[in-house]
Amino acid sequence: MRLTLLLDMAADGFGDRVLAGRRTGGMTAAELARRSHSGAALLRERAADALVYLDVNGPAFPVALFAAARAGVPLVPLNYRLGPRQLDALLARHPKAVGIAAQGSLACFEQAGLEAMTASAWLERTRDDNGEGGGGEADGGSVGDEENPVAVVIYTSGTTSEPKGVLLRHENLVSYVLGSVEFASAGETEAALVSVPPYHIAAVANVITNLYAGRRTLVLEAFTPAEWLRAVREERVTTAMVVPTMLARIIDSAEDRSVPTLRSLSYGGAPMPAALIERALREWAGVGFVNAYGLTETSSTVALLAPEDHRAAVESDDPAVRARLSSVGRPLPGVELEIRGPGGDVLGAGQAGRICVRGDQVSAEYAGLGRAVDDRGFFDTRDEGYLDAGGYLFVSGRADDTIIRGGENIAPAEIEDVLLRHPAVLDAVVFGVPDQEWGQRIEAAVVARPEAGVDPAELREFTLRALRSSKTPDRFWLVDALPRTETGKLRRREVPGLVARRER
């Protein structure tokens, strides 16, 4: 099953519908299909082994994704904020690639001996009437001979190690779409606003799921709260996805925060502080919230907390049901999920361990390393968590981030969640520091809200009221900002260095 099957179905089923860009003048499903043929012909002519995309999101991105899919070569979206050395190292892994890049980045490709063009040049060359490389409908869509080629390579952000290339094959992505989206289920007036960059799995998933649903997508090239709110109102956006740091900035912004047409807002990509989602639910009572949990390696979402789950949690008197507001919901129908103990044994409800998943959408495959699955086909996410009695998944954090203090395993997220409830705290991170007595001791770095004073002694008291003393940080650092990726993930590795510099 190829991704192009989904595009051809869309072109066949609702070819005239605008799928990308503004309602008038945007790109229709039929146009996207024609352009994918022209783009694939161009890639075959160059004997390209990959199509690298190094630019902000825009209409060139879906064309690139499906042109590469039709040519049977992977699309490789790269982070446009990478430094030249990191970029050179990644380009070297794709020696016969063709590139689509911002004007200022074309030189990087030239130095690497690769052909590259801007997004507007790509759109010009894939115009259906351009004729370059035959284009049009002449090509029946034949692809490379490989049975199930790689559709997308996404380099992990490398918050804890060197970037690894995650390989998503056509089968993984098609299985994800067929397992979670109903064909043509979106109404004519639905529109999705995309604010994650193209090298994030959610941006790739967004293109293919909205295409299959028949939902128009709009792209916010550079996220600011004001731009996001303006786009939602002006373009009458009905569906949007944000990462928690974006939601925090929107909810905190002094702009007009009304979103009259918004019906569904999904969030994911990093842990959502409980205090923040509670505020968002109060702010936008008419919006259905969706918490999505997934990894690049799992082709996006594997579990989700649906709008009705959010409502049930808020309205319930049962503490177990209320707690589900902090869960990521239940696994998708096509995904099997197990919690494993240290010896690999499957744990029951309420027992915390490693989250492992299996399913056709789970790639778990890395360039040069192969598939990281056990003999039963399960992928260890390296996330810690547990399932409650109703099958709701609670994620406590990355296994690598766990602090071991005096033999007790402590998830930083639990303490961070408490700190983020303090009215003067804007952002917080909790980390382990080597300690002679305890093995590790707990320290925290916090960012105060503008014009709010934060007293470390008071923060300590505040934490102690909510948690045991063994989970209360021994030291609080006040910092101006925390190191985060553009998509809101904390770069925890950098935090000890950040506070060490303050000490000098």
Partner: protein
Amino acid sequence: MAVKFRAGQQLVSAVDSTAVIVIRAPAADGALTCGGVPMAAPDQPPAPAEPDPSLMGGTQIGKRYVDEADTIQVLCTKAGQGTLALDGQPLVIQAAKPLPASD
């Protein structure tokens, strides 16, 4: 003409434009027909044939079709006029259980 099914297998009709992809394959071999005539792989398309006029209920793109015993599930990728059937038993549209958008 019973065949072995596998998930991901694509089949095209001999009587109309209908094309399907197997989502869930039954354990047993079987004959999938459209308009009463066996379907075949797209790279070995069946010779055009006359349909059984009583089996022209139509297929809809994007719909999932299942048999009564729920042993097979196919996704219609191209619409047509024929009726899908497994071993003579007509397939029916499976009701959608949509999930909220999460990307």
